[in-house]
């Protein structure tokens, strides 16, 4: 006997993600799902963001990592609320992990919550966490052809941050090529050039965050 099903395989995850989203919305959180390869600079960007956002928006972070609490330790030094999720062998975060982590954060004291996903360009793009927006980092040392190799993550992201631009002169990374490749799969993709070492581009990134926050809540930014 045949039974018609027609159920989306990730429906269970998406249902939990929708629940997370409601919690975020009621707490007035703008939520980012931050994705990249390992070592592209997710934690470095968040360290920069923590100080650059001070007095504008209150930052909080959920960090996913296979092992160790090193990323969380680095971010806690910035004086922001951080929750570490050690995923063990999992290559991505899913909505249920986030749902469990929420009880460990005072969301009412956070304006921008960044979920730092596990370093990986394949799996994280598949699982919605309840975020408002997906942001990805590509570092210039990874190569300008990456958007062609991993189109899904570039397509799913609203903003691409090209990091480590201070190293451009030491690599054969072509900025125009990288951007053209990314926009082949995602014509409307927003792109920012950043160096977390020199701080170049960080203020544009902070402006972007403030704009997205205003777009979501309309309200004036709190101190």
């Amino acid at each position: 006997m045949k039974i018609n099903v027609m159920t989306d395989v990730l429906e269970a995850n998406d249902r939990i993600a929708d629940g997370n989203r409601q919690v975020f919305d009621s707490n007035k959180n703008l939520v980012l799902n931050l994705m990249s390869s390992p070592g592209a600079g997710k934690t470095a960007l968040l360290e920069r963001t923590a100080s650059a956002l001070k007095g504008k928006l209150r930052l909080g972070v959920i960090v996913g990592d296979l092992e160790t609490t090193r990323d969380a330790d680095r971010l806690e030094k910035q004086g922001i609320p951080v929750v570490q999720l050690t995923t063990g062998s999992a290559c991505h975060l899913d909505a249920n992990m986030i749902a469990v982590a929420l009880s460990r954060l005072d969301l009412s004291a956070i304006d921008v919550l960044v979920i730092e996903n596990v370093g990986n360009l394949v799996c994280p793009a598949e699982f919605r966490l309840g975020e408002d927006v997906k942001v990805m980092i590509l570092s210039v040392t990874e190569g300008d052809e990456k958007p062609l190799k991993y189109p899904v993550i570039f397509r799913e992201s609203s903003l691409l941050i090209i990091n480590k631009i201070d190293l451009l002169k030491h690599t054969d990374f072509h900025m125009d090529e990288a951007k053209a490749n990314a926009r082949k799969t995602h014509p409307d993709l927003e792109i920012l050039d950043v160096s977390c070492v020199t701080g170049e581009g960080v203020s544009e990134w902070v402006d972007w965050l403030c704009r997205r926050y205003r777009e979501k809540f309309g309200a004036s930014i709190r101190a």
């Binding site: 006997m1 039974i3 099903v5 027609m6 063990g88 899913d94 189109p151 082949k184 799969t185 995602h186």
Partner: protein, 129 residues
């Protein structure tokens, strides 16, 4: 309610790639659907997976075999149908393959392209006894 990995990540289950989480979800869906008809066991599960989902069939089938153990879907056959990437141009209506994911219409060079196939990931139907 779901079979997704726990927050601590210290699960006793094998290494988890995205095929693992997807396999678990497929088993949950198949077992629930079989339950609505009081079936004794699931014989076959037909899944439609878009090309863009980057699923490795051999891995999905391997994990499906593992996570379906001790359920009424144990021993069932997982059949994977791949949906090709197809785009439709909003300008001229042309439909074309998006094999290299270049979102430009080959006929009118328009860039307003809708993906009409290739992103889905669905349990279509199951066969039960």
């Amino acid at each position: 309610m779901t079979g997704f990995a726990g927050a601590t990540g210290r699960s006793s289950e094998p290494a988890s790639v995205h095929e693992m989480a997807i396999a678990r979800s497929i088993v949950d869906i198949a077992v629930a659907a079989a339950g609505t008809e009081n079936a004794r066991r699931v014989v076959r599960v037909n899944v439609l997976a878009g090309e863009l989902r980057a699923i490795i069939p051999s891995q999905l089938i391997l994990y499906f075999g593992l996570v379906s153990r001790d359920t009424i879907a144990e021993g069932s056959h997982l059949s994977l149908e791949t949906a090709p990437l197809v785009g439709r141009c909003a300008g001229c209506g042309d439909e074309f393959s998006l094999k290299d994911l270049t979102l430009v219409c080959p006929v009118c060079r328009g860039q307003d392209i809708e993906m009409i196939s290739g992103t889905e990931l669905r349990v279509k139907d199951i066969e039960v006894e």
